[in-house]
Amino acid sequence: MSEAPDLSENEALAAEHALGVLNARERADAEARMARDPVFAADVEAWRERLAPMLGEIDPVPAPGGLWSRIERLLPANDNGELLGRVRFWRNSAMGGFGLAAAGIAAALILVAQPAQVVTKVQTIQPTGSLLNASLVSTQGSKTQPLFIAAYDPDRKAIIITSLLPAGSNPQKVQELWLIAGKEHPKPLGFLEPGKSKVIPLRTDLAGQVAEGATLAVSIEAPGGSTDPNGPQGPVVGAGSLSKL
């Protein structure tokens, strides 16, 4: 096996990151790149998978007693169940409103686009920071049709977004979510799946830019997303600004 072709520079970096030989600065750069470059992120993941079997050689060591109760105390009060519950509540109310306002107009789209129901445990909710919400309406034609419904949870620094597009639509393309704050270039936040809800945690620097009035937008891009550092390359199909309900 002496004739293996060299790894491309990008893949070599991904492999080095997965192996863990990068220093603190390079490591932070690689992590940041994973967040904005899905191809690089996939390379890192693939290398982590390749190397992971070595973990099997590490002997287990019983964790100290009492550690579990420390962990349990650290679990955020607003856990995943609550978060998804909040989104579902918001989504249902938004869809109800839409139904009243726009009955008869493109209702078929919504009917086929019922997002998968998220089943969560019912829990007592302690309201904490207030959510910012945005309805991303079509930027083409009628401005009333919401295509995506989003909420930003300041406690978890995460955006929860539901795509109302029919599941499986346009599989050759990806939907990329953007944050547009002030005069900054749009910042890519991640990819959405038609018909699904997704929780997208934000990096601290991006979370700092989310405020009432900031815009969320979705563009349709080739797989891998926009390669333009200044923003979307494909058409923007939906946009809306964040506000408190």
Binding site: M1, S2, E3, A4, P5, D6, L7, A12, A15, E16, L19, G20, V21, L22, N23, A24, R27, E45, A46, W47, R48, E49, R50, L51, A52, P53, M54, L55, G56, E57, I58, D59, P60, V61, P62, A63, P64, L67, W68, R70, I71, E72, L74, L75, P76, D79, N80, G81, E82, L83, L84, V119, T120, K121, Q123, R156, V199, P201
Partner: protein, 185 residues
């Protein structure tokens, strides 16, 4: 690597419950995996107290990110072990640029006979990777294993091996390219 996935992954249903916010499911995952993950942290950090801190952080991370777990891509054990390893390396880096652990012990080559690995469902993968690592020259195998198990930087490896940085880097890059070729074949 699809082979990391087995139908017998008994931990997978726990992940769905954790993603739905069930604390009891996280506790069950903790019971099933904490010894393994503590071993991973200790191996990299060689410090019990720091390893405890990291382990705590790892389970809070799992709690927050359980919705991102994709059973089609990795087994639960691989997924959580990778989080533990990454967090331990982050902590190691935070010690400072020149921090590097002294070798804990001579790198042992697993004899493949230990029974503690029943939880790691990817035994075939492990054998295949072991085989491919064994195909590398001894020095390259050793440097890749040291890098993996101790999570130390190129700089620290070069110092440890008493070799120039660029040389160590090229050993590793060539070794990884060969490894990939071997795993694909």
């Amino acid at each position: 690597m699809a082979a990391a996935v087995t139908t017998s992954d008994i931990l997978t249903p726990l992940m769905t419950r954790i993603a739905a916010g069930e604390r009891d499911a996280l506790r069950q995952l903790y019971e099933a995996t904490s010894a393994k993950l503590f071993g991973v942290c200790l191996r990299i950090l060689s410090d019990r107290e720091e390893s405890e801190d990291v382990l705590q952080d790892v389970y809070v991370t799992i709690w927050r990110r359980a919705d991102r777990f994709d059973s089609g891509r990795a087994s639960v054990m691989t997924w959580v072990s990778t989080i533990a390893r990454n967090r331990a390396i982050d902590r190691l880096r935070a010690r400072g640029p020149m921090a590097y652990a002294e070798p804990v012990d001579e790198l042992e080559i697993a004899d493949g006979s230990d029974s503690a690995e029943t939880l790691l469902s990817a035994a075939d993968d492990r054998n295949r990777l072991s085989h491919c690592l064994g195909e590398l020259d001894d020095r390259t195998e050793k440097v890749i294993r040291t890098a993996f198990f101790e999570g130390i930087t190129y700089e620290a490896l070069a110092r440890r091996m008493d070799a120039p940085l660029g040389t160590v880097k090229s050993w590793i890059r060539r070794g990884l390219a060969k490894l990939k070729g071997c795993l694909q074949s």
